[in-house]
């Protein structure tokens, strides 16, 4: 039932509107709204009950194992939420003067420093509001760099075929063409193909390492050398840093610019789709172009640097300073981790992924890169199961839901057939991993014995498998009252 169906004319949540008399004096009649929008008219109880019950229909980290590869669904410490919501921080106006901002700004400044340290970059801007916006900022800086040097013939950004969709989309938003580079069967970038693709038209390359194939690109130093020699810059898609925190740093690998998804590695909540935060870090030569605002510290006071102090900036990416409340959560998280905790993240995310991969392989499933170490994630290919049993990766995924386990990422990266990109994360206990293996084995047994159980899944959720084709064909994007 939709909230609109609870609605009755004149009903309302009494306590939720100002009691004082108010008027619209001075606003000309022709600018005043003539008919009320059809928002729900419900009591507070009805709204609370409706949304509480809706929430119960979700899977979430707080309720299920959620090994969604590349999405890093790890535990979001509850303190991050409550501390970012302390009144002085929650109520701070974005344009409050520095006199009333030292607490907030000091946290932001320290977060910049922490991110510099973990990535090995020379400077950091916190302003991008998610990974994709961080990518935008990064590629825009690459462009600004070339432009500033008068090097305007560079029109291409190279992207491995396994890359996240945001990478090529970003290149295009920045006015570049995206050119794909193939991956070898062992998961590493095809260096020969790279060699061929590089040239004076190359503005840069976007890589992620560990890659979205769940393996560490071993030839990264060579790649960096090749790209730099061609006059291009290296972009690091740092959506998932779990596997490398304290182990290896993008700056040391030769990258010029990086974005990080704080809503992944730094455990800020995903909130059913966001908000995120996608700070960017750069090497010295890209520093002038960082998006504003930045936070500076002069030994006494913290303050924002804007277009005025940073004339070469690519500009601003949001009306204010990005997703500040998310940045605060990441700050709290980083402070709780500390040096040792950062390393623990890498160790345990890698341990969990390798353990889970090993157990699945032992149980007879096929790893896409069986010779390789898993990083924080790894890929299973279910093509054998699809062929022999007629159940697809999608069927496995849906059936896992019936076992009260969220499905891994399916059909991404596209180059691996019937693939499961599995990321257990460091906050899960061994028993959760074992339960996943057990469920996978059971589902395979079901597929052998009673394939309809798997193909018709899920059975135990609020709805059964949904008709996506109809959704796209008979577009129904908003509720209309009957009649």
């Amino acid at each position: 039932m939709l909230i609109f169906q609870h609605s009755r004319p004149g009903r309302r949540a009494q306590a939720q509107a100002p009691k004082e008399k108010a008027s619209l004096d001075g606003i000309p009649e022709h600018l005043r709204r003539r008919s009320k929008p059809r928002l729900p008219e419900v009591s507070e109880l009805q709204a609370v009950r409706h949304y509480t019950k809706l929430s119960q229909k979700n899977f979430s980290i707080d309720t299920q194992f959620y090994p969604l590869g590349s999405c890093t669904m790890k535990y979001n410490p509850r303190a991050c939420n409550s501390l970012a919501a302390l009144p002085g921080l929650l109520n701070r106006h974005p344009l409050a003067p520095e006199s009333h901002s030292q607490g907030f700004l000091s946290a932001m400044h320290e977060l910049q420093e922490i991110l510099k340290e973990v990535t090995g970059m020379a400077a950091v801007s916190l302003s991008p509001m998610a990974g994709a916006q961080g990518e935008f900022a990064g590629v825009a800086m690459i462009r600004a760099y070339h432009d500033a040097r008068g090097d305007t013939g560079r029109t291409e950004i190279l992207v491995p075929d396994a890359a996240h969709g945001t990478n090529p989309a970003t290149a295009v938003m920045c006015g570049y063409q995206a050119r794909e580079i193939p991956t070898l069967a062992n998961g590493d970038v095809d260096l020969e193909a790279l060699e061929q693709a590089l040239g004076p038209q190359t503005a840069g390359i976007m890589l992620t390492n560990p890659s979205t194939l769940g393996v560490f690109e071993r030839h990264i130093a060579t790649i960096a050398k090749m790209v730099h020699e061609a006059g291009g810059l290296l972009y690091y898609d740092g959506a998932n840093l779990n596997a490398i925190l304290g182990r290896v740093r993008p700056g040391d690998m030769g990258f010029d610019v990086i974005h990080m998804n704080l809503h992944k590695t730094f455990s800020t909540p995903h909130g059913g789709g966001g908000p995120g935060a996608g700070p960017v870090g750069v090497s010295e030569r890209l520093a002038p172009y960082l998006p504003v605002p930045l936070v500076a510290f002069d030994g006494h006071d913290y303050r924002f640097l804007t277009e005025k102090e940073r004339p070469e900036t690519i500009g601003r990416l949001s009306a204010f300073a990005g997703n500040a409340g998310i940045l605060l959560r990441a700050y709290v998280y980083a402070k709780m981790l500390g040096t040792e905790g950062m390393r623990r993240v890498a160790d345990f995310s890698t341990l969990n992924a390798n353990y889970l991969m090993k157990r699945l392989v032992e149980a007879g499933f096929t790893a896409a890169y069986p010779e390789r170490r898993a990083t924080h994630e790894f890929i299973l290919t279910l093509k054998k199961e699809a062929k022999e049993l007629g159940v697809s990766a999608m069927d496995f995924a849906k059936r896992l839901l019936d076992y009260d386990l969220h499905a891994p990422t399916t059909y991404f990266p596209l180059l691996v057939p019937e693939c499961f990109l599995i990321e257990p994360t460091e906050t899960e206990a061994k028993e959760a991993l074992d339960a996943f293996v057990e469920a996978m084995v059971k589902i395979r047994e079901e597929a052998e014995r009673e394939p309809e159980t798997v193909k018709g899944a899920p059975w135990k959720l609020p709805v059964r498998r949904l008709d996506d084709v109809r959704a796209a064909r008979e577009l129904d994007l908003k509720w209309e009252p009957a009649g």
Partner: protein, 454 residues
């Protein structure tokens, strides 16, 4: 677990990392804090920022948010879920987003709403990109943008669209009314532009001649893009009803619908459009459909617009959006309803009226513009604004926004706002303090940078 994997140490798991790349310990970070310790630290920081009485608006507004909103939005099932890729395991989020799309379309009187973008400024940039793609009648990449639009929005749009060769052409405002100058707009008739941006209210709180502007766009083959304060739309004519046929795209920042000020974010951008442009929309869309048993359900739809399917041909690179803020906004709108939103909007407006009366009664202060305003306005002070604001801040009052930093032509102009959360006492305190400031500054006292002492 190590032995199950067949290694003897965790270090072995990292053996594919070339030796020369291995990181030294991250010394700069310091030891991890316990929750109790970080609690203390954050308390201290929060205390430092105090809780001043705020009369700044300028795109972010201090509204009351019902306690239920965030108590529900932070339930683990909403707070810690991912983007609803597995629809069957995400019906909570999906149905809520479908409700949100309905509410937002209603509030804007538009046909379709997406499920959110980052914030108002970047939503406008996406609207501009969308307009350029969608406008089949125009070959131009030029956009008409009023100077009365929020300066940070103009800057953000510039950052986000210029690499695709899109150019923003400024429309000046009438120095007397504060509204976009229609005569100058009309002078552009016949030129090729992709779109016209129409803010309501504009950055000065002034109400624009939206009907005329929308009609101008329609007649001249431009797509019209409204940028509005969603709370204002509870009492003002919504974009879908501007001019003869409404606008093509409406966007803005959803902050006034349940998002705390929180230093500027997370808020959320909303974007609505005509049904016929839906395939050009950026961002996620939720559709209602049925399951195998014919039961109603909700799912992500038209994903072929998005980067994870269409990659370099997507309508935008956006992936993660502002889901949780939309969750809050949906609950917020359900709790307030049309009536509650309208009452809140009117209360803000009335509070501003009262404030302006109190301040102009001081004798030396005047409204700068003659155009009608909603909920925020520009005052002209008898002296430079920065010094006044600093002294007010020392009294724990944030007196407004200094307009001269963005508009050199608006000398000594202050943008002020008083939402429904400001009490009569707050207004009095502002008036009294300002009176004192004016008096003492007339006597030549010199303002220094004050460090607020909480």
């Amino acid at each position: 677990m190590l032995s199950a994997i067949g290694v003897t140490s965790i270090d072995e798991l990292f053996d594919e990392i070339p030796d020369e790349l291995r990181a030294a310990p991250l010394e700069g970070i310091g030891p991890g804090l316990s929750e109790m310790e970080i609690d203390r630290l954050m308390q201290e920081k929060a205390r430092q920022d105090g809780q001043p009485i705020c009369f700044i608006g300028a795109g972010a507004y201090d509204h009351h948010v019902p306690a239920a909103v965030w108590q529900i939005a932070t339930r683990g099932e909403f707070y810690t879920a991912y983007t609803p890729y597995q629809a069957e395991a995400s019906q909570g989020t999906l149905q809520l987003l479908y409700e949100y799309q309905t509410m937002m379309a209603e509030l804007m009187a538009m046909e379709v709403s997406n499920a959110s973008l980052y914030d108002g400024a970047s939503a406008l940039a996406e609207a501009v990109l969308m307009a350029v793609r969608a406008n089949r009648k125009s070959k131009s990449k030029r956009i008409l943008v009023p100077r009365s639009l929020h300066p940070a929005y103009r800057a953000t749009v510039h950052t986000l669209v210029r690499n695709q060769g899109i150019e923003l052409v400024e429309l000046p405002f009438d120095a007397a009314t504060g509204q976009t100058d229609l005569a100058i707009l009309e002078a552009h008739a016949g030129e090729d532009f992709a779109a016209l941006v129409i803010p309501q209210p504009n950055f000065f709180g002034v109400l624009e001649p939206v009907d005329e502007m929308a009609d101008f766009a329609r007649k001249n083959g431009l797509l019209s893009i409204a940028v509005v304060n969603p709370l204002a739309m509870a009492v003002l004519v919504p974009p879908g009803e501007w001019g003869a046929e409404g606008v093509d795209i409406a966007c803005g920042d959803g902050q006034p619908l349940g998002a705390p000020l929180s230093s500027g974010g997370p808020y959320f951008g909303f974007l609505c459009c005509r049904q016929k442009y839906v395939r050009q929309m950026p961002g996620r869309l939720i559709g209602r459909t049925v399951d195998l048993d014919g039961k109603e359900g909700f799912t992500l739809t038209l994903q072929a617009r998005e980067q994870h399917i269409r990659r370099s041909k997507a309508t935008s690179n956006i992936c993660t959006n502002q889901g949780l803020m939309v969750t809050a906004a949906t609950i917020h709108m359900a709790l307030l309803g049309a009536e509650g939103l309208a009452q809140t909007a009117a209360a803000c407006h009335t509070n501003l009226d009262r404030l302006v009366e109190k301040l102009t009664n001081l004798g030396e202060i005047e409204p700068r513009f003659s155009g009608p305003v909603f909920h925020e306005t520009v005052l002209k002070l008898p002296m430079e604004v920065p010094g006044v604001l600093r002294t007010l801040a020392a009294h724990n009052i944030l007196g407004g926004y200094d307009l001269q930093q963005d508009y050199p032509e608006l000398e000594n102009c202050l943008l002020v706002c008083a939402t429904e959360t400001r009490t009569g006492e707050d207004l009095d305190k502002y008036a009294t303090s300002l009176q004192r400031v004016l008096a003492s500054r007339r006597q030549g006292a010199c303002a220094t940078m004050v460090r607020f002492d909480p």
